[in-house]
């Protein structure tokens, strides 16, 4: 496997949780390539934020989109060419805030793309404001006396919206991340992986997570109700245990298969246009 790095200078803070995600995704792409998967079919997409810089650091096709807007181009290119292996990286502010509607619709459509959410529960690049998954009372630069709103549980929302692969990892669990990423990418349908990634500068939660996370065992990921119960175990607000691993997985029809794959040449096209015009006399 060729080196998947680029000449771009990495500008993440030392200790940033994004490094684990970068290492995991590069390792998964390399292993896919070694398994014979054509690496040129891969497109990495990102929104805007610290997490999104990842596309500059991986030497594969990429589409560096706008804040909140990774999912729509990912959907567009997958429908345009179903051979593409489309992976969208975004932060929690990006995907769960500005771009939330797109996630809901991607799940609803079950388009075969993978969304990897670098969820550090704070806006890093804009220097420390609360996000949709920050706990109640979070003191950020836009909420100096603490937020007055509860966080959302994005995985619960994804489950009820129709996502067909739902998992969670942390940036302190590289082997689990690699396993989940590979499975999510190979899953046919909409996959979402919420990665509890830590912003060392604005919201350092390493110790907090290390104390609470555990890996799901004896969990039936094909059972919707069990998945819901497990997803609800931690609401991104309480200090309960935090389950990691695959919550839910099902096989369902994918969006891109519902489109015409007919292709017609210019002469056929002209003849058909003439027919339509003849009917409209």
């Amino acid at each position: 496997m060729k080196d998947l790095g680029t000449y771009a200078q990495n500008t993440w803070c030392p200790g940033c949780g994004n490094f684990a995600i970068l290492t995991a995704i590069k390792s998964v792409l390399a292993s896919l390539s070694d398994d014979g998967f054509p690496i040129e079919n891969v497109v990495l997409i990102s929104g805007i934020g610290c997490s999104s810089k990842i596309v500059d650091y991986v030497n594969v096709n990429s589409f560096y989109s706008l804040h909140g807007r990774g999912i729509p181009p990912a959907t567009g290119m997958k429908v345009a060419d179903p051979r593409l292996l489309v992976i969208s990286h975004a932060g929690d502010g990006d995907a769960y805030g500005e771009g939330l509607e797109h996630l809901v619709f991607a799940a609803k459509r079950n388009v075969d793309i993978t969304a990897i959410i670098h969820n550090n529960r704070v806006y890093g690049l804009t220097t420390g404001q609360y996000t949709p998954t920050s706990p109640l009372g979070f003191r950020g630069r836009s909420t100096p006396s603490g937020t007055k709103e509860n966080p959302i549980n994005p995985l619960e929302l994804m489950l009820t919206s129709g996502a067909s692969y739902i998992a969670r990892g942390t940036s302190h669990g590289l082997e689990l991340l690699k396993k989940i990423f590979k499975e999510a990418i190979l899953h046919k349908g909409f996959s979402i992986v919420d990665v509890l990634q830590v912003c060392v500068t604005y919201y350092n939660m390493y110790e907090y997570y290390d104390k609470r996370v555990y890996e799901l065992k004896d969990h039936n990921s094909s059972d919707f109700d069990q998945a819901l119960t497990r997803i609800r175990e931690w609401d991104y607000n309480s200090d309960s245990k935090i389950p990691l691993g695959v919550f839910y997985k099902k096989i369902a029809p994918v969006f891109e298969d519902g489109f015409s794959s007919t292709s017609i040449d210019k002469d056929q096209r002209s003849a058909k246009i003439k027919n339509i015009l003849a009917r409209s006399v």
């Binding site: 500059d56 990429s62 706008l66 509607e101 619709f105 096209r269 058909k272 015009l277």
Partner: protein, 558 residues
């Protein structure tokens, strides 16, 4: 009689729209040029809806205020449109729902018991419209054979009962005048929106995305209906934000893609438009104007978004902007817009409006197709290392599309280097900004071979009606009538400075005709130092009628 106007009116839900197309088709069989203006409020049932169908032996693309035949399906139609009648007019009305004394006047009143006939024949209430069409055909001296042929084509379902009802309307009516049969074969009838849809297909469209919004939804409906036949991918996503960004995903994958909307939806698309400019991802945007600000008058027309589309999106980037004036131009420029977007990797905007999009015109394919040929963008030859944003002399970099085993294709909304990797370097920033802007020079060169400014009427006249978009039709007709010149600016960006200068050479009275309150075309040409001598502005959402514009221009010429 060789220039006839028919108005059919009633409530939404009466089938006014369909009826107007059937009437247009009947007159089309007689060899006339046709124009249909549709007027309807923003509701599903009720209100007042009407269409004016005009047929003329001259080439027309506008309506007249005066009506020769009024087809009234309800009392409102009589009350609201009586003022359009004159001594020679005919009023065909439903005597079961309209008071005869309200129809009185110097014109000929023709009561037909529509509801009674429909009931007697066991039809549904909506079939009153075929009954009144039958009565209209007789009143206008059209043979039953012609009316029947058209009805058979338009009502394949329940044709027998429809025909019976129409024939009884025909019999209950009397011939009031005779429309001459002309020697021309009937032509296709297309709305501007249908022409845009077919023009995009002809230009090699692969995918179309849109969120429903008047007046552009019919393009979505047409293309969704044709998707299977032409192998198109047509998607109605969750919002216009998604529409634009999904389209850029298609574009990245090498597909020719277009989106359609109106002002409010375009507001949401502007972040994606600017992204298209920065990442050099081709996309065609159809922007159908309606009166604003904000929700405005959803089902009416306007030309108030010219400066909005010219300036939409943060930052500076070249864009192509064209405003076709009728169905044939819509078809032609839809294809050209796809070509220009993909060859120069820029957003191309087609500025339409409700009058153009939902107006119906006769359509001549040979004229509409013109010199158009589908073109493909220049693709990378596979030699050496691929650079998505290679800084070339013209500014256009060669394209590669994934999957390409020899290329890593990186596009970026940040400022980027030639590889597509983010940069904040001052020199690289200037280089890449210049690269993108240089493409405008290439587009200007390309446009030299196109008719970006058109001239009508008396070409030697020193008086000029200056217009753009759907006002082309009425300006052309009024210019001919008053023996003056009309000049239509077709392409608005890059602005055809030289061609407009040539078209206006020798003019000493330039009158701008626009459907907005602030003379937006005038503002644009003033920035190139041209200037006008008078303005006729209309911003009530309705199109200029021939009479109205004639009177205004005559006033200014005095």
């Amino acid at each position: 009689m060789k220039d006839i106007s028919i108005l059919i009116g009633g409530k939404a839900g009466f089938g006014i729209d369909k009826s107007s197309l059937v009437i247009a088709s009947i007159l089309n069989q007689l060899g006339y040029s046709i124009y249909v203006y549709r007027d309807y409020p923003s509701l599903i049932r009720g209100g007042h809806t009407f269409s004016i169908i005009r047929a003329s032996d001259g080439s027309i693309a506008s309506h007249k205020d005066k009506i020769d035949i009024l087809l009234a399906l309800n009392q409102d139609t009589v009350n609201l449109h009586k003022a359009r009648l004159s001594g020679g007019s005919v009023v065909v009305y439903d005597s079961d729902s309209i008071k005869p004394e309200t129809v009185d006047g110097p014109w000929k009143a023709m009561p037909v018991p529509l509801a009674g006939i429909v009931k007697a024949e066991g039809g549904q209430e909506i079939m009153r419209n075929v009954c009144i069409i039958g009565a209209m055909a007789k009143a206008a001296g059209v043979s039953w054979q012609i009316a029947e042929g058209v009805l058979r084509r338009h009502f394949p379902k329940e044709i027998d009962v429809n025909l019976k009802i129409a024939e009884r309307g025909y019999t209950a009516s009397q011939e009031a005048f005779k429309i001459d049969q002309l020697n021309n074969p009937p032509r296709s009838l297309l709305s501007g929106n249908e022409a845009l849809a077919l023009g995009l297909i002809n230009g090699g469209l692969d995918a179309y995305l849109a969120y429903p919004m008047t007046p552009s939804s019919p393009i979505l409906h047409s293309l969704a209906g044709l998707a299977g036949e032409f192998g198109l991918k047509v998607i109605h996503p969750e919002s216009e934000i998604s529409v634009m960004l999904m389209a850029l995903g298609f574009s990245y994958a090498g597909k020719k893609v277009a989106v359609g909307t109106s002002g409010g939806g375009f507001c949401l698309m502007t972040e994606g438009l600017s992204f298209s400019g920065m990442a050099e991802l081709p996309v065609v945007v159809i922007m159908g104007q309606r009166p604003g600000p904000s929700t405005g008058l959803p089902t009416y027309s306007s030309q108030a978004d010219l400066h909005f589309v010219l300036n939409a999106g943060q930052g500076e980037f070249p864009r192509f902007l064209v405003a076709p004036g009728d169905a044939e131009e819509a078809y032609y420029w839809a294809g050209v817009s796809l070509n220009i977007a993909s060859k120069f990797q820029v957003p191309a905007i087609i500025l339409s409006d409700k009058n153009m999009g939902e107006g119906t015109y006769v359509f001549d394919l040979a004229k509409a197709a013109g010199n158009f040929r589908e073109e493909s963008p220049a693709e990378w030859d596979g030699k050496g290392e691929y650079k998505r944003y290679l800084n070339t002399s013209g500014g256009v970099s060669l394209l590669a599309f994934p999957p390409d085993k020899d290329a890593v294709i990186k596009v970026n909304s940040y400022e980027h280097d030639e590889m597509g990797i983010t940069t904040e370097d001052p020199e690289a920033t200037v280089k890449m900004q210049d690269k993108r802007l240089r493409k405008e020079t290439l587009i200007k060169d390309e446009l030299k071979r196109y008719e970006t400014v058109k001239i009508y009427g008396n070409k030697r006249s020193e008086t000029v009606l200056l217009c753009w978009g759907s006002n082309k039709g009425v300006c052309e007709e009024v210019a001919k009538k008053l023996n003056v010149k009309a000049v239509q600016v077709v392409v608005l960006s890059p602005f055809p400075v030289e061609k407009l200068k040539d078209a206006l050479a020798g003019a000493n009275k330039i009158i701008a005709v626009e459907s907005n309150a602030t003379a937006q075309l005038v503002r644009l040409i003033n920035s190139f130092g041209s200037g006008v001598h008078g303005k006729v502005l209309k911003y009530d959402g309705r199109p200029f009628s021939v009479e109205e514009l004639t009177k205004k221009i005559e006033g200014l010429m005095r």
